[in-house]
Symmetry: C2
Subunit: 105 residues, 2 copies
Amino acid sequence: MAATVGTGSPCGACKFLRRKCTPDCIFAPYFCSEQGPARFASIHKVFGASNVSKLLHHVAVADRCETVVSIAYEAQARIKDPVLGCVAHIFALQQQVQTMRVIKS
Amino acid sequence: MAATVGTGSPCGACKFLRRKCTPDCIFAPYFCSEQGPARFASIHKVFGASNVSKLLHHVAVADRCETVVSIAYEAQARIKDPVLGCVAHIFALQQQVQTMRVIKS
């Protein structure tokens, strides 16, 4: 997640959104100019740029990277499985815990 | 999740969005007029009405109820924990599996 602030090239999110990347761009520290657009595309499709921007403004700066990682994970899971998204992973893990409990008892 | 199609009152989503609820409203079967607006509020805040509408149109009618349930779950988890959302549940379950493995071995 290379920051592109001040390098002249837009961040991956602004590149995807085809807009000017300003020095105070909330997305720039988390979406590099190269791999960033593809990463941002799934987030934009599932959550929308505006909602994610609001969310990032709402959390502390120190928590934003982890927020982007979890949002990207959820977005990719929802694109892969439109019905359950990452809830499918929760179901699978709950099933695994249940199975381990049965084997143990 | 009582359907409100044809009852005259708008569905919970349209009530929240303050718009006319049409007979072909994609949200109506899943958001009743009473509890629906509160349920839709969190979904709207996290994903946006337009994105969820697109998602529901993209999945089979038979899968839409489960899609709404998983989306509502993700939205509520994200509002409760803006940094990790429901990924916090995945981490907790992974930790539980790991602990059970250690105890077992």
